[in-house]
């Protein structure tokens, strides 16, 4: 009984994790510039990895494999934002300009909901 519940739960986690990874990859292709692509890649690095590894953890049960999966997750959660930040800094230093809303002809320009001019709390 419990194993059935765990099995279906891990199915759910694995599949939603894979869906997250797919969406992240689609976002990587759809986004218009480097910095927006980083946001898309962030989905795969955080939620996608968390869900897939959580699904595998439920299958692993209490064993060494579980510890190693936790360690992988720990590593990904520490390294992916660091790599992302280093990449952003290198790109800025290399002369890449982020595409901002002012230069982007979308239907919701920045003036609609712009909190930028308010004084900081």
């Amino acid at each position: 009984m419990i194993s059935t519940v765990l099995d279906s739960l891990s199915w759910l986690l694995l599949l939603s994790g894979c869906a997250c990874l797919l969406i992240s990859a689609i976002g990587l292709l759809r986004m218009p510039d480097l910095f927006t692509r980083m946001h898309a890649a962030g989905i795969g690095d955080t939620l996608g990895a968390i869900l897939v590894l959580a699904g595998l953890m439920l299958q692993a049960g209490l064993s060494i494999t579980l510890v190693k999966l936790v360690l992988i997750l720990f590593f990904l959660l520490f390294t992916s934002p660091t790599a992302c930040h280093a990449l952003a800094r290198a790109a800025l230093a290399g002369g890449q300009k982020p595409l901002l809303a002012e230069n982007l002809n979308t239907e919701n320009p920045i003036s609609e909901s712009s909190p930028t001019e308010q004084p900081l709390p």
Binding site: S10, W11, L14, L15, G17, C18, A19, L21, L22, S24, A25, I26, L28, L29, L34, R37, M38, A41, G44, D45, G48, A49, V52, L53, G55, L56, Q59, A60, S63, I64, T65, K68, L69, L71, I72, F75, L76, T79, S80, T82, A83, C84, A86, L87, A90, A91, A93, G94, Q96
Partner: protein, 92 residues
């Protein structure tokens, strides 16, 4: 069964990341795509390990996660300074 499905679902994601690595207009896009591809590979290796019931694959996934990070930092440093040995940080 479920691991096969997950592995099959991971393939197009990796393929799309690779497409961005090939298409990416700047070198930074390529680095980002390759880094994401590396994350997908780590997850793929872990899933494959469960699929073939060889839990040793998890060790390989862990090693890959390490190398992925170090590789990204090395490539970025090379493009930023043109040199691996340049001192950019003090220890404190």
């Amino acid at each position: 069964m479920m691991f096969e499905v997950a592995a099959v679902a991971l393939f197009p994601a990796m393929f799309l990341a690779l497409a961005r690595a090939i298409a990416g207009p700047t070198v930074y896009d390529r680095v980002l795509a390759v880094n994401t591809f590396g994350t997908f590979t780590v997850l793929m290796i872990a899933v494959l390990g469960f699929m073939t019931d060889q839990k040793d694959f998890i060790d390989i996934a862990l090693a890959y996660a390490l190398i992925n990070f170090i590789g990204t930092i090395a490539v970025l440093k090379f493009f930023a300074v043109g040199d691996f040995g340049y001192q950019q940080e003090s220890k404190k």
